[in-house]
């Protein structure tokens, strides 16, 4: 029984949940919707167990620490946050169709983690040995997860608005006003967590290096993401900004999230693009 085993099973549970939700949507079989929720929730429980098990495993190796510090662990936590945020929303807003659009993101995050990254538990360099790491990483990922759900909703919105007829699979999606309202609420939720994430990162940087903001690529891109969602939130107040534009913003925002999360590390690594002083 290892954490990798638990997490691999979780990956397939999320895939299965996504399929159940898909059937629920396309064929209108509510029992599949229930199965989807049940599978996703079981996955989340197993996922949580896997997370804590890996934490325990790190103690066995002699350098005990919360599993949030490398790409593998962050992808695992990202997947966890997406499903957690989604299930919270499903519970509050009672719509299971959204699951069809959200579960693939969780599944992809887990799958990529399992198949493409280094899963070794490495000890932490001194700069990462801080309680700020836990707060900063968790808040950032809650934000990322909410923005992922908002993006899924944005896609849903655009698909729904393309649907000409009132019949068929498209009509089984919630109406545009509801989706628009959900996009707004999800973005607000994500924005709060992202703000706390950026701020805790800044306070930590100040304590580690004496500089709460150095315009380094990671920091700058997280701010870019923040600007995009701040614009989306305020756009809501503008008459003439249709739900379609905001749906687009939620997708562009997600692209920014992806770049902040992965792009900076993989694409910008060689450039040493640091703000002067």
């Amino acid at each position: 029984m290892s954490s990798s085993l638990l997490l691999s099973i979780t990956t397939f549970l999320y895939l299965t949940a996504g399929i159940f939700y898909l059937f629920n949507w396309i064929f209108r079989w509510p029992k599949f919707g229930v199965a989807g929720t049940f599978t996703a929730a079981s996955g989340l429980l197993l996922h949580t167990a896997g997370f804590f098990l890996r934490w325990w495993e790190s103690y066995q190796l002699g350098y005990g620490r919360i599993p949030l510090t490398n790409l593998y662990e962050s992808l695992i936590f990202f997947g966890w946050s997406i499903v957690a945020v989604y299930l919270f929303m499903e519970f509050k807003f009672k719509s299971r169709v959204i699951g069809t659009f959200v579960m693939p993101f969780a599944f992809l995050s887990m799958a990529y983690a399992s198949f493409s990254t280094n899963q070794e538990i490495q000890p932490l360099i001194p700069a990462l040995q801080s309680n700020w790491l836990t707060v900063h990483v968790i808040t950032c990922f809650l934000g990322y997860a909410a923005f992922t759900v908002a993006c899924a909703l944005g896609i849903m919105y655009l698909l729904r608005s393309k649907a000409q007829t009132k019949k068929g699979i498209w009509s089984h999606l919630p109406d545009l006003r509801t989706i628009d309202d959900l996009i707004y609420k999800t973005i607000l939720f994500g924005f709060f967590w992202l703000t706390v994430g950026i701020i805790t990162g800044a306070v930590w940087a100040e304590q580690a290096w004496g500089s709460y903001w150095s315009w380094d690529p990671k920091e700058t891109w997280s701010l870019i993401t923040w600007f995009v969602y701040a614009a989306a939130i305020h756009a809501r107040l503008m008459r003439g900004w249709s739900g379609k534009r905001i749906a687009f913003l939620s997708i562009i925002g997600f692209a920014s999230v992806l770049f902040t999360y992965f792009g900076v590390n993989f694409l910008l690594a060689g450039l040493h693009s640091y703000g002067a002083g």
Partner: protein, 443 residues
């Protein structure tokens, strides 16, 4: 003031969204174009035309460039004006008397329910109050000509949370400006035992900032994981003022030391070495210890040997030394551990140098900063977090319950209003109506 077209534009939401998206897009430049290089670098790498553009737009330092600063200034003005423009509206919403309603017209509210109770008015009144208080907390009650009106007004302050957010953002900007003008950031590298009162500032010019006290690194301690990665490292330092030892303290990663408003961070370290050599010249030999960047003398043989560097190659340690006999120019060479080396001196004689021992000597890399604005920035951050939390999670809600006698029974109208929390209000009214309706079944 907002009748003026230009000011109105500066205070507009349209401008706010435009600036936010423009800041987002232009910030990308500094992450893909190398920053902080000398101008020549850009001309060499990107050519004449691009080089001129980069020079004019100061793209070598995007976030301090003139146009980026202009954007930030417009952003700040817009933030202030937007907030001032909206403030009267929020004040009006805040001041709106919740009791200025006609209880009988409450049914027109978007979330309203009407319930008829069989009970007598005077009895029903008390029971209803109990139900409402249990669900909503303490309520205000007002008698009007037809009956009694209960009111719960929740989180009325939330109209102002958005102003707290905006104000706090400005506070952060002010704090950052104060830090930039009256603060500094730089490095100080100290070998164990060395002391300094100079900070080498960041930036291309490498200017120095003198401090009115000295810092001496007494000891540098480091621990490694089995795989060679650093596990923990720290410096033990002493602060000296006018030659007197004033303070002894450790500096650890994530645990800086602050003295007289200047903070020292354990940022990095460099590894040097102290080497012990055995030098043989003919029948005579001598053991010399050479510290980093210094030399040792074998006076009897008029030999001086200095240490230039230490490196590891193919699993062996190699030291780079120079040797000078009498006043002759020094000759430099490498000596590997376990491989004594024979060197021919200019005088014709030869010496053999053997590396007996190597001890790591560390230089601690401290980052030094002074930032008088940092606490202002912290206050701003706190305000932003509290403001967003209040704005999003404490929406203003109003609940009215009118209890009106209707011959021998009682009419109850429940209504709720919240521009931002429609669902919550509708749900709550639904539940309250149900509970009130249940009174019919109870009796």
């Amino acid at each position: 003031m907002f009748k003026n077209k230009f000011i109105n534009f500066l205070a507009s939401l349209k401008l706010a969204i435009f600036i936010l998206l423009t800041l987002a897009a232009t910030s990308i430049i500094g992450t893909v174009l190398p920053q902080g290089q000398p101008i020549a670098f850009y001309f060499q790498r990107y050519g004449e035309a691009a080089g001129q553009i980069i020079k004019f737009l100061q793209l070598y330092d995007v976030y301090h460039s003139w146009w980026f600063v202009v954007l930030l200034v417009i952003f700040s003005i817009n933030l202030i004006l937007c907030s001032l423009k909206r403030l009267p509206f929020s004040l009006e919403l805040y001041r709106r008397d919740p009791l200025a309603v006609d209880p009988k017209k409450l049914t027109r509210m978007p979330a309203a329910k009407e319930v008829s109770l069989k009970e007598d008015y005077s009895l029903a009144k008390g029971k209803i109050k109990e139900i409402i208080t249990k669900k909503l907390g303490s309520v205000k009650e007002v008698e009007f000509e037809d009956g009694i009106l209960f009111l719960k007004d929740k989180f009325r302050f939330s109209y102002f949370s958005v102003y707290l957010v905006h104000f706090s953002i400005l506070v952060v900007i002010i704090g950052a400006i104060i830090g930039a003008i009256w603060g500094f950031r730089g490095n100080m590298t100290l070998l164990e035992g060395e002391s300094s009162n100079q900070v080498i500032l960041f930036g291309l010019e490498r200017r120095t900032q003198p401090l009115d006290f000295s810092v001496r690194c007494d000891k540098f301690e480091i621990e490694f994981y089995p795989n060679g990665m650093p596990k923990e490292y720290r410096s033990e330092v002493t602060i000296l003022e006018n030659g007197k030892e004033v303070l002894k303290a450790p500096i650890e990663v994530n645990a800086p030391l602050t003295y007289k408003g200047i903070t020292f961070y354990q940022a990095s370290y460099n590894t040097f070495a102290e080497v012990t050599l055995r030098v043989l010249k003919g029948p005579r030999q001598k053991v010399l210890i050479i510290k980093p960047f210094s030399q040792s003398e074998w006076a009897e043989e008029a030999l001086r040997i200095g240490l230039l560097g230490v490196q590891e190659a193919h699993g062996l340690i190699a030291v780079q030394l120079w040797v000078s006999e009498k006043e002759s120019p020094p000759v430099s060479f490498w000596v590997l551990e376990r491989h004594p080396r024979r060197i021919e001196l200019p005088s014709g004689q030869a010496i053999i140098i053997e590396l007996s021992d190597i001890k790591p000597v560390y230089a601690t890399g401290l980052q030094v900063k002074k930032d008088p604005g940092v606490w202002i920035v912290w206050a701003g951050f706190l305000g932003i977090i509290l403001g967003i939390f209040a704005a999003f999670f404490f929406a203003h809600q109003r609940y009215w319950v009118a209890v009106i006698p209707d011959k021998n029974s009682t009419k109850v109208i429940l209504a709720g209003f919240s521009p931002k929390a429609r669902h919550k209000v509708a749900e709550t009214i639904e539940e309250l109506a149900k509970e009130v309706g249940n009174l019919n079944n109870a009796s």
